[in-house]
């Protein structure tokens, strides 16, 4: 069930009405309803993998209690590693087995040996990377005594399986979400309206911008040998915009949907393409994953303690692991490595925390220095995305080499370029709106704060009409594959 599908448009109001009316505000009933709807939502993808989800949930629930009950450190560590081992084991089998088997065989063949470890034909369970990380954050927090174990299995299961975040995040923390699940929730009008507005903006981003850009990006990347360097640049730009609108659109819909149920999820994007350096970009892009890696990998590895070498080593580790988290392909690892490389100057010169606030706060336009910083950061990001989108590393390298050829100065051309003009225009408008709303949680949040109702509603109708009128060919959310 996709967020941008008719079935979800039917599912959501039904669950919403049952949640607020049929449960009569009783938290137990509300949580049972959320759990049943979440499992239904997940079963719509593939009901067989529901058992994996339930098993994973039960494992962390059980080991969580055991960690808390453990009387000595050895037992605590045993239960922690049991949970981590099984969780990562599932992830390894479903997501990475074929990659490791192939890479191992290729490595041996370079040494002159022949090996065939075989491959497994299995569909990647949707959302496995996300709910595994939910569970891991819970057991690690328990181990660190940051939280107490949740004894009620239903409440804990809602934390893991809450349908808006189940398949592609944001990756929640037990310290943030669990207390909300346990607390009585009252309907809040302004929160619900804000949630709907965020859903609408998310749908616009996904259906109008991302899905249309996807068509052009796919055309160019899938037939890259036929195109000039300038068209390659255009293709990379289309993908850069696609991945942002696709994933942040998904996050907006997820966060907005959760708000309809009185639950606040972690913010996942904060206008990353307006960043002035790569460090700022990573504070604004996929925030829930970046902070997860920071808290559960970077800091346990020693973080920035232990001198510059440790800092550089740990930065490379989290970026490479983060790349690998995205998928079992060398392209993601190179993408992670590149980002680590890009961030290095600010780490070495200790300028990585220079830009904490949003750019040009309280002003209409950035300064010239800020503008150039944004352009350079954006350019580096676009470059790295080429690896993320390419089919393999050699494809990425040939794509890049074409960019740096004489055909870079040729007029861009691909089949359908004329049709892309309205989309380029819409994307420009989109970025202007994003710029105007950059000081808020999402770009059009300020509409609800400042605009009069008739104008506000007119704006909503315009967005809805645009979704119907300009909506691209339906595409799967990119992050569902992770």
């Amino acid at each position: 069930m996709l967020f941008n599908s008719i079935s979800f448009a039917i599912f959501l109001p039904i669950v919403f009405l049952l949640y607020w009316f049929a449960t009569k505000g009783k938290i137990r009933l509300q949580n049972i309803l959320l759990l049943v709807s979440s499992y239904f939502f997940y079963a719509c993808w593939d009901w067989r993998f529901m058992f994996l989800l339930i098993f994973s949930t039960f494992l962390d629930y059980f080991t969580g209690i055991k960690i808390h009950q453990a009387t000595n450190q050895r037992n605590k560590i045993f239960w922690l590693w049991l949970s981590i081992g099984i969780n990562l084991g599932f992830l390894g089998v479903f997501k990475y087995y074929n990659f490791f088997a192939d890479s191992f065989a290729e490595g041996l063949s370079l040494l002159g040996f022949k090996a065939n470890l075989g491959s497994i034909q299995v569909v990647l369970p949707v959302g496995i990377s996300f709910y595994t990380f939910h569970g891991l954050s819970y057991v690690i927090d328990l181990y660190k005594n940051r939280i107490k174990p949740e004894r009620n299995f239903i409440d804990y299961s809602v934390f893991v399986s809450f349908f808006p975040l189940l398949v592609a995040g944001p990756i929640e923390r037990a310290t943030h979400l669990l207390p909300q699940i346990l607390k009585k929730r009252e309907f809040d009008y302004s929160k619900a309206v804000d949630g709907l507005r965020q859903i609408l903006w998310g749908l616009f981003k996904k259906i109008v911008i991302a899905d249309n850009c996807a068509e052009y990006a796919n055309t160019i990347f899938n037939n890259s040998a036929d195109f000039s360097g300038s068209t390659h640049v255009l293709g990379a730009l289309f993908f850069t915009i696609q991945i942002y609108c696709d994933f942040s659109g998904y996050s907006d819909i997820a966060i907005g949907t959760a708000r309809l149920f009185g639950i606040d999820l972690l913010r996942n994007f904060a206008f990353p393409y307006f960043s002035r350096d790569i460090a700022e970009f990573w504070r604004r892009w996929h925030i829930s994953l970046s902070s997860w890696f920071k808290d559960y990998l970077y800091i346990p590895l020693g973080g920035s303690r232990g001198g510059m070498f440790m800092k550089i080593r740990n930065t490379f580790i989290i970026f490479i692991v983060s790349g690998f988290w995205h998928g079992a392909n060398w392209t993601f690892i190179v993408w992670g490595f590149l980002n680590a490389l890009f961030i290095m100057p600010s780490i070495i010169f200790n300028t990585h925390r220079n830009n904490l606030d949003i750019v040009a706060k309280g002003k209409y336009l950035p300064s010239l220095k800020e503008f150039f910083s944004i352009v350079i950061t954006f350019g580096l990001t676009v470059f790295a995305w080429i690896f993320f989108r390419a089919n393999n590393v050699s494809h990425a390298l040939s794509y890049i080499s074409k960019i740096f050829s004489s055909s870079l100065l040729a007029k861009p051309h691909f089949t359908g370029i004329e049709k892309s003009m309205p989309i380029i225009f819409l994307t420009t408008i989109f970025f202007i709106i994003e710029w105007m709303g950059r000081e808020h949680q999402y770009a059009i949040a300020y509409i609800g704060l400042r605009w009069y109702k008739p104008i506000r509603w007119a704006m909503y109708y315009i967005i809805i009409v645009s979704i119907f009128w300009f909506g691209g060919k339906e595409q799967q959310f990119i992050y569902f594959q992770f």
């Binding site: 599908s5 008719i6 309907f187 009008y189 309206v193 109708y461 119907f468 339906e474």
Partner: protein, 326 residues
């Protein structure tokens, strides 16, 4: 928190919830009223439309009749064919026109070898289907609407703005002529002469093969609505003439055999009150074809004159119930 505080908060949240739902409904109702109102006006407009009194022959079908029959040559006829028109749409258009135009006595329906295959894609999938919804959806009967909604509800929603735009333009223009409404086609005059291997192969691929290179399946909906058209004409006491438009030898030799067999098998089950005129092997030089499978204006002239003379002949010969003409 004491009980009365909890109750107050609960009641307050119920009030807020009601306000929320009221606003949502109001937000949905405004455009719904506009759309529904426009639809009613549109329906009322097209129900008052009539062809000129002398129009007694309707030519309908897909691009083959659209390009192949020149209604300025055929006496008392109007060509309403539309490119890629599925029989579901043809049936609904005819249903509407025959109800409002009692003077129509003959319907000429194009039906070619490709007519019973692959057309369900056009009905239910992709951009082409959505552009069709925008043109035809407002005039469909309940059964046709339901079958499309069942298979492609999202397509209907996506075509909504385009559909409303077409309705709104028709309402604003307030035209008294059928030709100005999107569900009515017209004769397409093409002066091209481009029959060659490339255009023939393109046409063959489009008609008989899927994108993956496999042969098309037969279309159940095409057959169903073809028979509904037959029933409709019989019920309204309208003479139905099915015509197989001319195709080039180059095209004919590439048509997969199973489609020809299926075609004649379907035709052979027709009611004996229906005429079937088969022009597929009409001896025409290449210069009379616009591309691989469509006639150009010169070819259309020859075919139309042929049809005209046959109609004259038929009018003179009583009880000529069923005729196969090669």
């Amino acid at each position: 928190m004491v009980w009365w505080q909890r109750t107050t908060i609960y009641l307050f949240s119920i009030l807020e919830m009601k306000k929320f739902i009221k606003n949502i409904l109001f937000f949905i109702l405004i455009p719904s009223f506009i759309i529904f109102g426009s639809w009613l006006i549109y329906k009322q407009r097209i129900d008052t439309l009539k062809f000129k009194k002398n129009i007694s022959i309707l030519v309908c079908g897909d691009s083959h009749t659209e390009c192949g029959i020149n209604d300025s040559i055929l006496k008392n006829a109007v060509n309403i064919s539309n490119s890629s028109e599925h029989f579901l749409y043809t049936f609904n258009v005819l249903n509407h026109l025959l109800r409002n135009n009692q003077q129509i006595k003959t319907v000429i329906l194009g039906c070619s070898f490709h007519s019973f295959d692959g057309y369900d894609n056009i009905l239910f999938e992709g951009d082409r289907a959505q552009s069709m919804y925008a043109r035809y959806f407002p005039i469909l009967d309940f059964e046709s609407m339901a079958s499309i909604m069942h298979r492609n509800a999202s397509g209907i929603f996506k075509s909504g703005i385009n559909m409303y735009g077409k309705m709104a333009i028709s309402i604003i223009k307030d035209s008294k002529f059928y030709e100005d409404y999107p569900f009515i086609g017209t004769y397409y005059k093409s002066d091209n002469s481009n029959l060659n291997d490339s255009t023939v192969i393109t046409a063959i691929r489009r008609h008989y093969y899927q994108e993956n290179g496999k042969l098309q399946e037969f279309s159940n909906y095409q057959k169903l609505y073809f028979s509904k058209i037959v029933e409709l004409c019989i019920k309204n006491n309208v003479k139905l003439i099915i015509i197989n438009t001319p195709i080039s030898n180059n095209y004919l030799k590439r048509v997969p055999h199973k489609f020809i067999l299926n075609y004649y098998s379907t035709i052979s089950h027709l009611d004996n009150r229906i005429s079937f005129w088969d022009f597929h092997s009409l001896d025409l030089e290449n210069k009379f074809f616009g591309d691989g499978d469509h006639l150009n204006s010169n070819g259309a002239k020859i075919l139309t004159l042929k049809i005209d003379s046959m109609m004259n002949l038929q009018n003179k010969v009583p009880n000529d119930n069923k005729d196969y003409i090669q």
